[in-house]
């Protein structure tokens, strides 16, 4: 088992290196770091590289967020997009951008509204006998539609916001070195909290009483993990709009490969998520080049069928 996990991690690192290389070298304009021309150099270092890095960081953030949510809510159908956390974050972000607030504040407001969304969905689905998985997903979908509608209204009422596309389907076209720095800081914070509590999260899967009897402070773990997951998805959304299904698909693939132990699952999800979104972004900017597909369109084409497959598999059990 241990050797298998090492092999999978090695493979994931190779995959990440390959996707980063492909994402940097290919695009609608042929540029490379070895070109002499000034414009080519500017495109490569000023636009292409920040964009590829941002895609990698956001991929890792969304995937870790999904893995953590699936663990905390004990529901394999959880993901920041399905639970309405992304829509909550997007509404907060769009509102504060329309109000002309600085980027850092935009991220903070996005985080708070994402937390509010997860709190709402969680309390809707909580009954005396625990959280009901079906209600959790349905409440998330309902909240998502409501917040998505509010988001469209905010975007249309404002002159300063970019297109509806950007927010509802995500894009890395606004990537800049500042974005990369802020995303990296949020990713470092959120992912380290997630890894730190991953062992406790495993024990929490046994149920609250059993976990408490093993010495785990269940509410502290739950609050820390839900906050980390909200931070990761909120900052992603504030910079790149709503990119769906990444947090759903990636942890499932990892689980098939190495099992459910969150100590290995969470970092591995981050690695695969980074490769996945770099590749999805590469597709989004090359498929109909010189025009660009929103990256969320690419992930939805892959993710939505996968979600239906999971739903069907669950009812078969």
């Amino acid at each position: 088992m241990r050797t298998k996990i090492i092999h999978v991690y090695f493979l994931l690192l190779l995959l990440l290196a390959a996707s980063l290389a492909a994402g940097s070298l290919f695009g609608s304009v042929a540029v490379s770091p070895f070109d002499d021309s000034r414009i080519s150099e500017m495109i490569f270092w000023g636009i292409r590289i920040p964009r590829v890095l941002l895609a990698a960081i956001v991929g890792a953030m969304l995937s870790v967020s999904g893995a953590v949510l699936q663990g905390v809510l004990k529901n394999p159908l959880s993901d920041p997009y399905i639970l309405g956390i992304s829509a909550g974050g997007a509404l907060g972000a769009a509102g504060s951008i329309a109000a002309g607030l600085p980027l850092f504040v935009v991220c903070a407001v996005s985080f708070i509204s994402a937390l509010a969304a997860v709190g709402m969905v969680y309390s809707f689905s909580r009954t005396s006998s625990g959280v009901r998985p079906e209600v959790l997903v349905l409440a998330g979908v309902a909240l998502s539609s409501l917040l998505g509608a509010a988001l469209v209204a905010v975007i249309l009422a404002s002159d300063s916001l970019q297109s509806v596309y950007f927010w509802l389907f995500g894009s890395f076209s606004f990537a800049s070195p500042v974005f990369v720095k802020i995303a990296a800081a949020a990713a470092a914070a959120g992912i380290s909290v997630s890894i730190f509590f991953s062992r406790q999260l495993n024990i929490l899967l046994l149920g609250d009483e059993e976990a408490a009897s093993l010495g785990v402070n269940t509410s502290a773990v739950r609050i820390a993990m839900l906050s980390a997951a909200s931070l990761l998805s909120a900052v992603s959304v504030a910079m790149c709009g709503i990119i769906g299904f990444v947090g759903l698909i990636i942890p499932h693939i990892i689980r098939l490969a190495i099992g459910g132990n969150n100590v290995f699952l969470i970092p591995a999800s981050g690695l695969l998520g980074a490769s996945f979104l770099v590749t999805a972004d590469l597709l989004s900017r090359t498929l109909i080049s010189p025009a660009e597909l929103p990256v969320g369109v690419v992930t939805a084409f892959i993710g939505a069928p996968f979600f239906i497959y999971l739903l069907r598999r669950r009812t078969d059990v």
């Binding site: 062992r199 495993n202 046994l206 059993e210 408490a212």
Partner: protein, 234 residues
Amino acid sequence: MSELLKIHGLSAGYGQKNIIKDICFSSGSCGFVALMGPNGCGKTTLLRAVLGLLRIFSGNVLIRGEDVRSMGSKKRAKKMSFIPQASSPPAGFSAEEIIAMGRYPHDAGHDADRLAIENSIRRMDLNNLKDSDVSRISGGEYQRVLIARALAQETEIMLLDEPTAHLDIKYRLDTMHILKSLKPEKLIIGVFHDTDLVRKYADRVILMKSGTIVADAPPGEALAGNLIHEVFGV
């Protein structure tokens, strides 16, 4: 050294509702204690209160003289292990990973953890199951994994809520046999319904009715006809 487990006038329940009243218990020298009584009499509530999972209204639970309420959750988990009723195994975890969870409260370092995990795997005869996904093994096998986890937890007290409830007769006997073999080193308190098994394996029976203890005696005495009639109404 003060007594392993002592319960003084314990009342506890859910919300404002008092379920168990004025429970007193002294562990004496270690042994295998069976907690019995009709459904709803407060057996599980008593276990929860001892574990510190419930609000205690009055009285206290002392382990070696120390109140469980003043202990942190990790410290408590080093004193008492718990096997709940109908625990559902999480998918995608190996038996060994579940057993290793028993080491969480100990900050003992990798070698001590390994040793405790390997010992309990050997003791529960789980070597051929240790890499199996626990969501794919039988209920009886998972029960053995849980006992192994409780062993790896290295506690002096082990609490079990109906550990034999969903098992067939072979696994029931196995489980009782294992628990009995642990008693020289541990205090085992378990909720049971099967009077025949309790007669055969337990050292002491605590009979509860409507939240209070009505008998605390060796099985032969506590399970005599008239008491059983009074408590269970049969």
